[in-house]
Symmetry: D2
Subunit: 348 residues, 4 copies
């Protein structure tokens, strides 16, 4: 089947490749509609590895997908051909101890799309377990469906934050993930949401959402701004979504007593962490690894109209121009929040 393949020598090719397409009793067969390009896809393309995961055989890219069910396994009862769906890209061993305890995202044996050596979904058709396939309501498009994966990261962060309704949230970083976190935090109850960055383009996009307050850190210290907006109390929740080691300088100054810091970004090196400052606030720090059990709830928020991800789709490319799409993603234009590839035109 035709697919966007990252070759071992880190060259992209759009070509036929053998993919396993046997339908098990609990699986569904899905015709891929839309696929978003993630920073990790681009990272594999540019660097050939992320941590211990190394591209040393041809690998199909892509893990943010929506599509249409075309066939269901014999035991599948809650999906049927014609259903429009989005998919969790990780397939864990559900009998592992981590999975049994509700942390299936932490199962070390998880098979995750486009994480070597597992193939991704930038191809015409995939087989996927029904348990990790989620129906989209009629008024949610496949383009939005393919946004559920990155939004799931924000959802998981916002869920772990346990935001009290009306709380103040600060999101450090207005990149794709920062904006997803800000929207999820707002939907999750935050009354005031401040998003900081040093890119004017990114802050403009974030600031178009009502209730999201952009703050350019080149204009002054973020902590003073937060203090001013909260009468000196501080933010109840701070999300670090920039992945910058610098973000940790004075990060606990942002926080209210008893507040929570959620670490979403993945800094390239160890950060300098001020334990005493954290203790003075008695901060709780949550970390997240991908997501678990948020897809159905993410779809519900899109369906309800509380969250609108459409403005974040910066451009779409036909499947035949996948390589051009990746080249543009590799440029890293500041206003490109999400680029998508339309695998099957009619499906969207």
């Amino acid at each position: 089947m035709k697919a966007l393949v990252l070759e071992e020598k880190l060259r992209l090719s759009l070509r036929d490749i053998d993919l396993p397409l046997t339908l098990g009793p609990n699986d569904v067969r899905i015709r891929i509609g839309r696929v978003g390009i993630c920073g990790s896809d681009v990272h594999y393309y540019k660097h050939g590895r992320i941590g211990p995961f190394v591209v040393n055989a041809p690998m199909v890219l892509g893990h943010e997908a929506a599509g249409t069910v075309v066939e269901v396994g014999s035991q599948v009862t809650d999906l049927k051909p014609g259903d429009r769906v989005c998919m969790e890209p990780g397939i864990p061993d559900m009998t592992s101890r981590a999975s049994r305890e509700g942390h299936y995202n932490l199962d070390p044996a998880v098979r995750f799309w486009a994480t070597p050596p597992i193939h991704g979904c930038l191809t015409g058709e995939v087989i996927h377990p029904a348990a990790f396939t989620f129906k989209l309501p009629a008024h949610v498009s496949l383009a939005e469906g393919a946004m559920v994966e990155p939004f799931a990261v924000g959802m998981h962060a916002a869920t772990k934050a346990q935001i009290k309704p009306g709380a103040t949230a600060v999101v450090i970083g207005a990149g794709p993930i920062g904006i997803m976190v800000a929207l999820a935090a707002q939907a999750a109850g935050a009354g005031l949401v401040i998003v900081s960055d040093l890119s004017t383009e990114k802050l403009v996009i974030a600031g178009k959402y009502p209730g999201i307050h952009p703050f350019d850190i080149r204009t002054g210290p973020l902590a003073a701004h937060v203090a001013k907006l909260t009468a000196g109390w501080g933010a109840d929740v701070v999300f670090e979504a920039s992945g910058s080691t610098k973000a940790f300088d004075g990060i606990f100054d942002l926080l209210a007593p008893g507040g929570t810091l959620v670490l979403v970004g993945m800094p390239p090196a160890a950060v300098a962490f001020d334990v005493i400052a954290a203790q003075a606030k008695e901060a709780r720090i949550e970390t997240i690894f991908r997501y678990a059990n948020v897809y159905a709830k993410a779809v519900a928020l899109l369906a309800s109209g509380k969250v609108d991800l459409k403005p974040l789709i910066s451009a779409s490319f036909p499947f035949d121009e996948s390589i051009a799409a990746f080249e543009r993603a590799a440029e890293g234009r500041p206003a490109d929040i999400k680029l998508q590839i339309v695998v099957e035109e009619f499906a969207s």
Copy 2:
């Protein structure tokens, strides 16, 4: 000072009464602007008691108030004359064990406005601790400020529910508290909010809010409706806000596995509770008593525009017509969500 007084014989009179007006160092003096009429005010008027609290001396009514600071005590630093504010009506002993543990609402020594023998706030001026007085932003009116008290009940219920973003919530009862709970649950992260009642008028008011789905229980079983909207999973959170003993029949059929039931309504008698049905869902049941630590966050939600309480103010009466206002409240018209009394016209 002139006040709306409930006399011992349960007659209302608008007359002068001696009230303690000494300003302590941590207190503020507030000119009352608006006061909402609560079901408990009406209940004292009609029945002279609520549980152990009996009206056996003249008592000023009213506990839902907003106003303007006119003087501050010597130790007060965060409020100043001219600030527009709303007030928590209960003043606990903050050194009690319950208060120390963060449950100041459960302090048995709490002094609560218009709960005998404590006077309420339907008068020109009150003295109040600064710690329980909350500044309103410029664009939040005193009318909205006086809505914070009933909304705080919804906020506390939604906070205790620990709603995950995108979760499904059902609110049983579309009375004033039911609607407050629904709005708070929605602001707190619920994706789908279903409100049930058997009053067409109330359901129409609730249903005008985008994302609130009214359900008339005269048209069929609520559980079947919830099952249909959630693909058989059930509601993640159910709020009982009707205070009807009948609401408990089959209430756990509404709930998803691992779901939460929050008991907000106060049924007049013990209810029949099906322990086995609760266990089959491994339900968590939360109960609330008034509220604690939600006022600042409630004001933040009004300020952000996420929650709009203005449509719930059904009618306003000048202070001189307070008695007429109470007579109308006593009628219990189904479309009267909240009646307010304008104590000082210019202030609103």
Copy 3:
């Protein structure tokens, strides 16, 4: 294979019966050593049904078991022949939504030993998933291993209670489950544990454990006793483990402000529940359904010596006398906490 079979006409027979013994790749084959008799086994024997579960075909009884691994499937890496183990008797579908969310005990498709039509483990050998089979350390006997199942109920209750270290716990009911709950609550951090009952025999057994305070409810009101021992504050956690509807009379009088009630017992009918009294304490009520994710931790507590279940084994019977063992269990002698059947003598 020879097994203790409950025939459709509710007669017990110790006879050969065909059982599925095919070893899957993730399964282990276990020679059964010890099996405890549970109240539910006796209930099926006496009444032929529990709720919707009806004995309408011969069924092997027993679900509290420990034994020795004799063979492992091709994918099993953490167990090997010779390992002494105990087993969770329920096998859920781990891909169901409830299981994915960490509540595998709530999966409606769970297959539970000796719950019709699923056979139990009172036989020589069983096949079981390795994921639900737990190794016993060298110094924990098979007799103790077979106690893990009932203790798991207490563990799950104590886990859900979220007991703070040093908290006061009350356990209503000193039957087998009540004692298990009391021991788990004590191990889980309770400083003072009060167990109430009206059976002198049961209270004597409970009271032999240091730190467990028995209270005979025939000698006066439990609430007054708790108030006295807690300087009027009340119990931080109350476990209802009697299954008596009467236990709910005034149950919230036992509780401290902000306290937790855990419903473990299964009353035969709806109980009268005083919502107002629960709200006055702002009680949290947790319910439990069997258990999830507690076996490894239960074994750790036995291994550490913090919990000693051996005194609760009232008598043991050889496999050939299984029917006599059930007859004695059916008598319901107050001092019989747990009766066990030794399936394979040498194994214990």
Copy 4:
């Protein structure tokens, strides 16, 4: 009144000093019995400051005390002369926002014994709020009562950890606080408790407690040891109680998926924190600042016999030898867990 005074020039003198001894209506007057010497007392003696708190006027030392009530204020009902008590050394403003939210330990206006410029309790008599004074049962000595303050740190850490019963805990550091944390974690439900250090003397003391497993980090990597004892799963909770920056190297290797790290120690500089490693375990990190709401529960654990702090009192000195006691404390002998000063001999 005679007191142990730290003079501005960091010289100790046992001399008379004027102390405020006016009894307020909610206060009690306490004759001091025993006072423990804390590392912070020694630090002020040696260095004259801790962070922003500088000794620039004579200050009475000591904050770990127990004594006997000799007079009570007019509003005090739950204490009476003759009661033996221990005291929380911090007196917060209970109306501050942090206090109202249940975090009175985070109130910036807290007045804490022997934190400049507030005098401590190494003197004959103190006035203290009844709300922060806790009665000791008859069989708990004043010597044990004076241990409640350092134990409270362990209690608060163990409470925040939310240890599930039977969980595995690792405590890094076997100093006074490390041992307190280990005992609290054990009482709070941990099944296996591993304490690491590189001091043989300290490990011997920790290891005398049944169920506490000492581990000398000079013998090999702690992570490998934990992996071995937990069949590769890791520790559910890790407490960092050494205050060493080195402890953070590979600290997340100790942790199970979904585990919790509690930061108790106060490292002298920022630590290198591996965000990616924390995320791979989806670690929750809790920090603590002193303690709140644990004294009553700590006393309950001493009273129940679950926790025995007596072996940790290494030596006692009469009040007249206070300076010698401080000199010895300043030596930092590895086997000196706690030194105490007997202020009033007959009282213990």
